[in-house]
């Protein structure tokens, strides 16, 4: 595997990881709100 291909895959993985982290933040926020609604 050449360096260009390795870099391309690393960039692609970094983008997906970024999106997943963003989704996780939104999910945790949503869960917190939902638990507050259920508790009230």
């Amino acid at each position: 595997m050449n360096e260009q291909e390795v870099r391309k895959r690393q960039r692609s993985r970094a983008k997906v990881m970024g999106l997943l982290l963003l989704a996780l933040v939104i999910l945790i926020y949503g869960i917190s709100i939902a638990k507050m609604v259920v508790a009230s």
């Binding site: 595997m1 390795v6 895959r9 692609s12 993985r13 997906v16 999910l27 869960i31 939902a34 638990k35």
Partner: protein, 304 residues
């Protein structure tokens, strides 16, 4: 531990994100997610949609983690079977350590998130199901006994119980029946597959029933497991735990299942047999589980 896979000899690899996705066995996951969702919808207590979504997501992530750890351990036998040779590890697109870290991390994350979003009962059952699939089925049973998928089938039977527990915080008779249904459904489903993939399993040294006990015995066993499976499928209706929609679908689908498995049980394969009845039983068994669980969820939604 499994012997070295082809990928271990290579230099560190940079796997594509699609390879990590493939490690989670997305197609197997769909049935697990669906039965988990139906378990959640069938529960008598409503659950907040965000928490319900999170519970199903955690079931999917837990199943994905178990699949990844299964592929990490079985890379050597996966390389020997046509059906699995193109998976990321045997194909050499990923190193084993990445697969192990990914599987363990995803498993821990799914259990913790489920605990945070719902309750400890659901999280504990999810942890148990992952450990059962990886340690009991993959590591202990699969290479040692032709009963591997009978006992190992319990791992795939947990999702409706997890869904139910996420909504209610406990486990009652209906989720136990749903567990039993998937548990008894697994042998006919996998042995139908094993009948037409027999040479693949034999080549990989996996002691599936047709390889060890022969076709005749496997065909009889398929029918022997189908009968109690049908009885369990009808119990929720008989015990008034499910309504008419479920009763009609379970009865109709069970008649077809009984017909297909009897046909498989009574036949003998010829040389170069296309194994059409076995393939039909395998395909219908998937439809059966989808149909019965969908009917249960629909029943609850209509009644509500």
């Amino acid at each position: 531990m499994a012997s070295a896979a082809p990928a271990t000899a290579a230099a560190p690899l940079t796997a594509d994100w699609r390879d990590f996705l493939a490690l989670t066995k997305p197609r197997v996951m769909s049935l697990v997610v669906f039965t988990g969702l139906c378990g959640l919808l069938a529960a008598p207590l409503p659950i907040h949609p965000v928490l319900g979504f999170t519970a199903v997501l955690c079931i999917a992530l837990g199943a994905g983690a178990a699949g990844a750890l299964n592929q990490w351990y079985e890379a050597d036998i996966d390389a020997l079977m046509k059906r699995t040779a193109d998976r990321p590890l045997p194909a050499g697109r990923m190193d084993r350590q990445s697969a192990l870290h990914f599987g363990v991390g995803l498993a821990a994350f799914s259990v913790l998130l489920l605990y945070f979003a719902t309750n400890w009962v659901a999280a504990a059952i999810l942890a148990l199901s992952i450990l059962f699939y990886v340690l009991v089925y993959t590591v202990w049973l699969k290479r040692r006994t032709p009963q591997n998928i009978v006992i190992g089938g319990a791992a795939g039977a947990f999702p409706p119980v997890i869904g139910w527990a996420a909504a209610t915080g406990d486990v009652s008779l209906l989720p136990v029946l749903l567990f039993s249904l998937v548990f008894l459904w697994t042998p006919p489903h996998f042995w139908a597959l094993a009948l037409f993939m027999k040479s693949d399993y034999a080549k990989a040294g996996v002691p599936m029933l047709p390889v060890v006990a022969g076709e005749r015995s496997t065909r009889v066993q398929i029918l022997l497991y189908t009968l109690p499976m049908i009885a369990v499928a009808l119990l929720p209706f008989a015990l008034d735990l499910a309504g008419r929609i479920y009763g009609i679908v379970a009865c109709g689908a069970s008649v077809v299942f009984a017909f297909l498995s009897t046909r498989v049980a009574l036949r003998r394969s010829a040389l170069n047999d296309a194994m059409k009845p076995e393939k039909q039983l395998f395909a219908f068994s998937i439809l059966y589980l989808f149909g019965v669980f969908a009917a249960l969820a629909l029943d609850r939604l209509v009644l509500a």
